[in-house]
Symmetry: C2
DNA sequence: ATTAATTATAATATTTACTTATTGTTCTTA
DNA sequence: TAAGAACAATAAGTAAATATTATAATTAAT
């Protein structure tokens, strides 16, 4: 593939000729020459350079944008052609929400590794929005998330049902009461931060049962929330995935309440696009076979 | 840009190494070497070749499809970069219906030529469907047609109102009568072939006024139809654009009939896409300024 | 001013690309 | 079935491009 574009892209990303040369295993003058050749060919300067800063200019921005797309297409072409002869292989860029990334993805990756060691997965964690927009900009190949994302380029398919339970520490007097909305509203709730899929479920739950809790504590991770619940700090609503071990060890108990468990779907999100290499097929199948889905 | 892909594309199109070499102004062995190098790089054969046939195989099809897109993107990039510094320039591929292509486009091209001689237009003629699908496959940059085309990738904007009149030769006794649907149905009608925009208007006209003509003659071009009408062979319904000269020379007369002239819009169709170079802007503006539009 | 960090230039070496000449196929046709 | 035509592949040499090393030039920071 056209080396000029590759070199330009690297320089534009690193904003540094010498470092780009290193990464590309070539000498710095070679990089200078490539850039000069490309600028000559296009008849326009692409990089404003002093010895302190290298910056793409307006023309450089255009070339960078197109270059990204051109190189991506070339790579996709290589992958599809290689797929014709070889086992599924190559990079597979997965995006996942926190919950899925922490509790579900590890086993998926293990299965993938076992049967298809030539596939090299990488994982980005983010909320549904993040994953969706990374999909649109082709920064990941597939997403596993807790919500849907509306964009004409993206399709979402449910692959697993998740159940969320209200949990408390084992010491709470609450455990002996009959659980009513009023009882729940009287408790301290520990919930995830704004933007989290689990937070959203909790808010919908409150709304549905007309609960406005006395005290809300927001914590940034599921792990911390579980520790808070264990310590008797308050109660929470969490996915069964995240509390399995604590239940087994009897550190945390589920509360019986009509309307729980709350069910929600996990979704596979992917680009509505013609590019569908073996590696992606294999991973998607593995995910969708994981449990009673659809 | 990557010469390997360019050479491959040319060979795949021409199905012939030697002819590709000629067109690319290089020797035949050079072409052989490029193809071999590309096949080596991708690790797969792309062309099945005997000395009678050269054919792309499955892998070759993938490379051809991606190659087309990659080279197109590279060209678009070059055009946009050049637009930053230079006057509108480069190839501009226009698609037009027969009527527009014959009667309207020449003056557009003349205007374009006058002010922007660096733009090199090429014209493909076809019906709305043809033009629409050529737009989708990026074989043209803009279309001027008589109908709309529904595809998420394509947008249509009206740019001019067209009027169609019923015409007859000057000798017809018809000219002295009061024109009613019954009178029209009694005449011989000369109409365009199936698939033509004008044909469609005529059919709608018949339907609307419950006319089923005694005799229909289908002819393949507007020019031939006009000659038929002049010769008294029958009457027709044609765009004012096409009959201007014949009216002036009093070879053909318009019939007065309630519901004529029939109005329809001409549309600019373009790809709903980020690529919008100066040459395309200039041409579109010229077209849309051409008459009272929108 | 000196130094450090950086890109550009020059000269040279190496690799790749391209050419001509030739060979080896396969299909056609006489 | 032999000869010829049409074609791609190969070989060998040449031209062109792409690298490298060494060095210069520029700028910012100390």
């Amino acid at each position: 593939m056209d080396q000029h574009l590759i070199v330009f892209m690297k320089v534009a990303q690193l904003k540094n000729f010498s470092r780009a040369a290193e990464e590309l295993h070539m000498s710095q003058p070679a990089v200078s020459q490539y850039i000069q050749a490309l600028e000559r060919e296009l008849g326009v300067k692409l990089l404003e350079r002093t010895n302190k800063y290298v910056e793409v200019n307006k023309a450089g921005k255009i070339v960078y944008q197109y270059g990204k797309s051109i190189l991506r297409e070339y790579e996709q072409m290589q992958t599809l052609v290689s797929d014709l002869q070889n086992e599924p292989a190559g990079e597979l860029r997965i995006g996942a929400s926190y919950t899925i990334g922490e509790y579900l993805l590890p086993s998926f990756l293990a299965l993938l590794q076992k049967d298809y060691s030539a596939i090299i997965p990488s994982v980005s964690i983010g909320n549904t929005e993040d994953i969706g927009s990374k999909l649109v900009s082709h920064d990941i190949d597939i997403g596993l998330v807790e919500g849907t994302f509306t964009h004409k380029q993206v399709i979402s398919v449910p692959f697993q049902i998740d159940r969320l339970y209200i949990i408390s520490s084992i010491g709470k007097s609450l455990l002996k009461k009959r659980i009513t909305p009023e009882v729940l509203a009287a408790e301290t709730w520990i919930i995830r931060e704004e933007g989290s899929g689990t937070r959203k479920v909790v808010e919908e739950f409150f709304e549905k049962h007309h609960i406005s809790p006395n005290r809300l504590i927001t914590l940034g991770s599921t792990q911390t929330i579980k520790e808070g619940v264990e310590a008797g700090l308050g109660i929470s609503l969490l996915s069964e995935l995240t509390i399995q071990k604590e239940i087994e060890l009897d550190r945390i108990r589920r509360l019986e309440f009509a309307g729980t468990p709350i069910q929600r779907a996990f979704y596979v999100m992917k680009n509505h696009h013609e590019f569908y290499p073996k590696a992606l097929q294999v991973f998607e199948n593995l995910v969708r076979r994981s449990q009673n889905s659809d």
